[in-house]
């Protein structure tokens, strides 16, 4: 085994009422990829924040390359060769790629007192080359994809460690794949594997599959403690899940036993719906209680199609009918009134009013039913909210908890509760389990099955192909804007992912 580059010993961090980290030992060796897993609240992020100096531990020692250090702040950590790529990104959005790469370290590029763009450009190309990004350096970061942003952050950290001559930097990737397409994810991991020769990588992810496939070693955390440290090649996903959750996870992950055959009535009908340059004329139906999964690469047109169904985009041709009634294209309010729900991929900005309480969010679409004598009745409001909070098992101190204070899983459950409480006929779910831990995922699967039983038709786009296959009753495969294949996925007779992949690519 190679030498330890970073050693934390007996790290403890307390917050009022909670022990976030309880005497955790944590070692990163040179040239390895270390997978770090645990449920939300297990202490992963606290540990990482200590690693980069965002917070200071109450107890414990921090040694870097053998020497004890006190990391003052993230900038200090980066100079010492320890950096983190945050889930929500930490690039300044209005600055260009190049400006972000060198932010606060421009001094070396001075030429007669002014920054030399040429020198910066050369360095930027070299830095981005290590992560195989060829991008227009002047593009503002806000206009780039999450994948490019991640790579810029990685490139920045690597460049900094070179600048400060730090051997074997430690890169922390926090849930890097939640915002990536499958291709981008594969590329990320191939780059990560290449980077192993010069760096160590800590990979945090809820997707155990990629952790097992990519990591050399896996560290499992639960309730602020390190519960296991295993070699990845000996690890199996069920065992890891069991250690994370603390109990055996249902073998039937996707609750196939609850899958019901579609009803007779047609809920949604698409006739010749197209959007120029994005997808070509499409025809399909969704029946009552049917779960349709849309799969395809980015650029296949599936996202735009879903947005058209939800009324958020206007198709160029064709008609969308709900229960036989034609909807005005491009009108989200009419879609909602007609009974089409939409759970967007970015619930933080689109799906949920984070500054409002759970009750307010849950009741948002049904306020008319909660009125007594023309005014909203607080009692009815509370009753309705409590019912759905219990039904959807939203874990929160009270209905008046602000949504911003909820975990990702509970936020997602609140969004679903909102649609459940309003009598919808069709629900479009855009990556419903993204950024959600194992326990909460199971809850969401349960809710999806429950919705199907009440007759709601669904169109889903999932994080993994396994999830798509497991949840749906029928799969529509899109490629380059065309519907190329349709696969039935009846319970217990599901196709395998490899059967599907050939039609996708």
């Amino acid at each position: 085994m190679s030498a330890a580059v970073l050693e934390l010993q007996r790290i403890t961090k307390r917050y009022p009422g909670v022990v976030a980290l309880d005497g955790v030992d944590f070692t990163v060796y040179e040239n390895e990829i270390l997978g770090l897993v645990g449920e939300n609240g297990a202490g992963k992020s606290t540990l990482m924040k200590i690693l980069i100096g965002l917070i200071q531990p109450d107890q414990g020692t921090y040694r870097l390359r053998g020497a004890p250090v006190v990391i003052k702040n993230p900038a200090h950590a980066a100079n010492l060769g320890v950096g983190m790529v945050f889930q929500e990104g930490c690039l300044v959005p209005n600055l260009s790629i190049m400006e972000n790469l060198f932010l606060c370290h421009e001094i070396g590029f001075r030429h007669f007192g002014f920054l030399s763009k040429r020198k910066m450009r050369d360095a930027a190309h070299a830095a981005l080359g290590t992560v195989k990004v060829a991008a227009d350096l002047d593009t503002p970061v806000s206009e780039t994809t999450p994948a490019v942003r991640q790579m810029i952050e990685i490139a920045r950290l690597l460049w900094l460690s070179k600048l400060y001559q730090q051997r074997n930097p430690v890169l922390i990737l926090d849930e890097p794949t939640t915002v990536l397409t499958d291709d981008e994810r594969n590329t990320l991991f191939s780059i990560a594997t290449e980077l192993k020769s010069q760096a160590s990588i800590i990979l945090i992810s809820h997707r155990l599959q990629e952790i097992v496939e990519t990591s050399d070693r896996i560290l499992i955390m639960k309730d602020g403690k390190r519960v296991a440290n295993i070699q990845a090649r000996h690890a199996g996903i069920p065992e890891i899940e069991q250690m994370m959750v603390g109990h055996a996870f249902a073998a039937d992950r996707f609750r196939e036993d609850e899958q019901i055959p579609p009803g007779d009535q047609v809920t949604l009908t698409l006739e010749n719906v197209s959007k120029r340059g994005v997808f070509e004329p499409l025809n399909f139906e969704v029946r009552q209680g049917e779960i349709i999964s849309l799969v395809g690469l980015v650029g296949s047109g599936k996202e735009a199609l879903c947005r058209c169904i939800a009324g958020l985009e206007k198709p160029d041709t064709g008609s969308i009918k709900l229960a036989g009634k034609r909807l005005t294209p491009g009108s989200p309010s009419e879609a909602v009134r007609a009974g089409i729900g939409h759970i967007p991929i970015d619930r933080r900005s689109d799906g949920l009013a984070l500054g409002m309480t759970i009750a307010e969010n849950v009741n948002l679409l049904v306020l008319d039913h909660l009125k007594v004598g023309g005014f909203i009745s607080p009692q009815r409001e509370k009753k309705n909210a409590l019912r759905w909070i219990q039904d959807c098992r939203i874990k929160a101190p009270s209905p008046s908890t602000m949504c911003v204070n909820l975990s990702g899983g509970n936020q997602q459950k609140t969004v679903i509760a909102k649609w459940l409480s309003s009598k919808i006929h069709l629900l479009v779910l855009d990556h419903p389990t993204r950024g959600v831990d194992v326990g909460a995922k199971d809850e969401i699967y349960r809710l999806i099955r429950q919705l199907a039983r009440t007759g709601v038709g669904m169109i889903i786009m999932c994080d993994t192909l396994e999830e798509d296959i497991g949840l749906c009753g029928r799969m529509l495969i899109m490629k380059d804007g065309q519907l190329v294949n349709e696969v039935n996925c009846p319970p217990y007779r599901k196709p395998s992912p490899s059967d599907i992949i050939s039609s996708i690519v």
């Binding site: 993230p74 600055l95 606060c104 227009d136 994809t145």
Partner: protein
């Protein structure tokens, strides 16, 4: 492909992510002033037709340039504060105070003082000092800039009126008068000075660390601090530069009008904020540079000049003014949508 950034499978290319903007249009799109140039051209076009060409006469172009200079200098100072995501409402107070200082220290009718050309560093320094205090109040005492600068404006305004007893102090034989009122090759000197200030600030924004820090803070203050940006230092500097420019504007105004009175500072804030907004500087911070501020000042001045030249009823001028400004902003809003808006 819907996005400009395309993703490809790794085996197809070593570069798996690349952006595909064509170089030619790029500058214009990214310049951030395309909408403003368009607005200026439209405004000038309408007035040129309306005045049968008189609007484009040399004399009038000289008038526009000379009248735009001082608002531009103020707007260039102000816009950097706006880029930070803050606001500076101290313009009128700082100008009033600096003007009164000019009145008392330059050769004047009331006392025997005459500091000669030293008046330039003095007013710049006093203005800069006021700006630095604005910055300190904002960063160290954590007072929102909206309040601290408004307070500063009132304090300085009060001081200016108190010191001058509200009187007008006539200046005598100011050595700068020839410079301020002169022309080089038909271009008003004040416009040249404003242009130089614009060029320096624009260069600093594009090509120095300070410029990066300015936009980084405007984009996301917390992230910038984490990356190591010296947030407080940068903010204080920005407020300081703004103060220096207000001080210079005050000096030029006093010399131009050959007299110093506290009320010279009146009615300067609103046009400056308008110029900054019309120029395309996002009032939420992070977007827009000196070029936007300068162009904004030019648009506002060209508009006012045109309304007078067209002899638009003064009762209606204000309304026309407002309407055209809204249109100008509407033309620029599309570009902003692409950018980051806090």
């Amino acid at each position: 492909m819907p996005n400009t950034v395309t993703s490809m499978l790794p085996h197809r290319s070593t570069s798996w992510l690349s952006t595909s903007a064509t170089k030619g249009r790029k500058w214009f799109q990214r310049s951030g002033i395309s909408g403003q140039l368009l607005a200026l051209i439209i405004v000038m076009g309408i007035f040129t037709i309306g005045t049968r060409g008189k609007y484009l006469s040399l004399v009038n172009l000289q008038v526009i340039l000379s009248l735009a200079a001082i608002p531009a200098i103020i707007a260039i100072g102000l816009h950097q504060v706006v880029v930070l995501g803050a606001i500076d409402l101290s313009v009128e107070g700082v100008v009033a105070f600096c003007v009164v200082i000019v009145g008392f220290l330059a050769h004047n009718k009331f006392n025997a003082n005459d500091v000669g050309l030293w008046i330039i560093p003095i007013t710049a320094g006093v203005g800069g000092g006021a700006g630095v205090i604005n910055g300190l109040l904002n960063t160290k005492l954590k007072i929102p800039s909206f309040i601290s600068t408004l307070g500063m404006s009132w304090v300085l305004w009060g001081l200016a009126v108190f010191v001058s007893k509200g009187q007008t102090i006539p200046l005598l034989n100011n050595p700068l008068r020839a410079v301020v009122n002169g022309y080089v090759l038909g271009i008003p000197n004040l416009a040249i000075i404003a242009f130089l200030i614009f060029a320096i600030i624009q260069l600093v924004q594009d090509r120095t660390r300070f410029g990066r820090y300015l936009y980084a803070i405007g984009g996301d203050e917390v992230l910038s601090a984490q990356a190591g940006v010296k947030v407080h230092q940068t903010k204080i500097f920005v407020f300081g530069i703004a103060g220096v420019l207000y001080g210079l504007a005050a000096l030029f105004l006093a010399v131009k009008l050959d007299s110093a009175q506290a009320i010279t500072g009146n009615n300067l804030l609103f046009p400056a904020v308008t110029a900054v907004a019309v120029g395309g500087v996002a009032l939420t911070g992070g977007i827009g540079g000196a070029k936007n501020a300068a162009l904004g000042a030019l648009i506002v001045t060209a508009l006012n000049d045109g309304l007078i030249l067209l002899d638009v009823n003064p009762y209606a001028q204000q309304a026309v003014n407002g309407a055209v400004l809204v249109v100008a902003v509407a033309l620029t809003i599309d570009r902003k949508k692409l950018g980051f808006i806090k």
